[in-house]
Symmetry: C2
Subunit: 338 residues, 2 copies
């Protein structure tokens, strides 16, 4: 069964292609009867217009591209779900590409999307991305670009993010209010803005509550893995027995920390409290359950799509676009580990 075309329908109903096309799109200048005949027939034969032919005229592909640093990542899966849900409502479909945290791959993927004529690109930049030429190329082509979660301060476009600094501040503040005074930080890599911001939130909380900041209590998890969390916690136990709480840049290192503490029979949270970040499913499954900061991934995805859609509408109408930066609220989830 070949796909039907407007021509086939026109022939079957003894109408012109023009009229069939107009009828299907509810143009006001088509006889109501004709419209109904056409629509009924189209439905009967299950006609769907050829998207590519339509693109050639309308310049709209009804496709957006999403580039994320990692596919296999609870948070980004959630963002993707949000994007796909919002996209579906406007009859958009989503091409998903992963940069694997690589700058080169990110560049390549963006080029592929541009070549496919997607109507917009939603991007969370890779940790290793250090310049923005490839990003500026999108903006030059007047294709809406929306950042989510990890963004570049250098590019002029809309974004939907969380306030990492504030979220980290709140998390550390909670530890302090639990009576903790010597708080270590398992930080993320040095480059990404959100890892920097979480670190800054940590420092700010210490400062505001009159606690001393000590460089040697900060450990860099380049892979943000549980192995790193495990190893650094081992080091903490051996070399820094005064430490009574650990704030991790993400849940994975925090889970590693819990594992190490459990094995060493150190009581959580009484001796050492642990706080994660991102509220992965796993935080609720470890023993003791892990306190964390919830990032609204699904909502972030929905908002990102909505921003894209709004921009596109403005561009279509020829109106000027005002870039927005949406900051979503995070929420402290207190569990047994703190």
């Amino acid at each position: 069964m070949k796909n039907l075309t407007l021509k086939d329908i026109a022939a079957a109903l003894n109408l012109s292609i023009t009229t069939v096309s107009k009828a299907l799109k509810d143009y006001p200048d088509v006889n109501t009867n004709t419209k109904e005949r056409v629509k009924a027939y189209a439905k009967k034969v299950n006609f769907t217009p050829n998207a590519h032919a339509a693109f050639l005229r309308t310049q709209q592909s009804k496709l957006i591209g999403v580039v994320i640093p990692r596919l296999n990542h609870f948070f980004f899966s959630n963002v993707l779900r949000g994007i796909m849900k919002a996209a579906e409502e406007e009859d958009y479909m989503v091409i998903v590409l992963s940069s694997d945290e690589s700058y080169e791959l990110e560049k390549k993927q963006i080029n592929r999307l541009l070549q496919q004529n997607v109507d917009g690109i939603l991007l969370s930049i890779a940790d290793s991305t250090h310049d923005t030429k490839h990003i500026d190329a999108i903006i030059e082509q007047k294709i809406p670009l929306i950042f989510f979660d990890k963004y570049s301060k250098l590019s002029n476009c809309s974004s939907v993010v969380i306030n990492d600094q504030k979220a980290a501040f709140n998390a550390v503040e909670h530890l302090i209010k639990q009576g903790k005074k010597n708080i270590a930080h398992l930080r993320g890599p040095l480059l990404p803005q959100n890892s920097i911001d979480r670190f800054l939130g940590y420092r700010k909380a210490l400062e505001q509550y009159g606690l001393e900041y000590r460089k040697e209590w900060v450990f860099t998890c380049d892979q943000i893995s549980n192995e790193e969390g495990y190893a650094y916690t081992q080091e903490i136990i051996e070399k820094h027995p005064e430490i009574d709480a650990i704030f991790a840049v993400a849940d994975m290192p925090a889970v590693g920390a819990i594992k190490c503490l459990n094995e060493q029979k150190i009581v959580i949270p009484d001796q050492i409290a642990v706080m994660g970040f991102s509220n992965w499913r796993i935080s609720n499954l470890v023993t003791p359950t892990l306190s964390s900061v919830n990032q609204p991934g699904i909502k972030m995805g929905e908002k990102a799509f909505e921003l894209f859609y709004k921009e596109q509408q403005l561009i279509k109408k020829g109106e000027s676009v005002v870039y927005e930066k949406i900051e979503l609220d995070t929420k402290l989830i207190i569990r047994q580990s703190s």
Copy 2:
């Protein structure tokens, strides 16, 4: 900066559109010099052919569609990675859609993909899918369809799967060889084939080793959640103190079981051993670590794309397609819980 077209290049180089097009595609009947001029210029101005216009002629969109039951799922994320990796090598891009385990949504998503003229569809069917009319519609349109992981026995097409029955058999056999005699099974929902097959593997292992099968030792986890695993384990402890091992249909219920056993101070694996299925990242993070069956998700994705690509090549050449069923090897991962 508008996108350039063949026309622009032809004008700039004083050639015809035909020649430019041929030169870029390395047609043999174009002067080598001309070819080089064209290619150099195209590169300079960063020309990329319009994919939609090309489709209208070639009927190839260089797009495939993937429909998975759940996006936020470690195993399917891995499959997706495999698909995307293999697709990238053939310059394909992937439209990802989720059926959310809903039959209706699955139907809808497939229709959307068909409308977008994807070159092929890779599908893992929803638990609630009970008929295959929507699937047959794909096959009728002569678009390659490949099943992965969850398939329908009723449809005639290629698939890449694991042998759930055998994998479950091996897992239970291992428990038996550890000296366990009264093995409970936390099974999945009644409909999906892989949940049935894992149950059958469980029964077969009991049978083969002369252990009695007892209906009341089988518990159905409709959500395949850790909460169900937790609750059923509670029930096992209270009502079936003779049980000395639990084989779960997936890691989530197994993790719930571990949590319950930990809380009740039941020693794992000495008093009760636990075996999961799928080898999620989490199985390595709980205490004790969870034994499980590794499903080669990435490889499954790669194979699924390769099957699609092979079929497409055959169709293009007008040769007849022979459907294949690829069965990938699983691997028993023994950790502390067994």
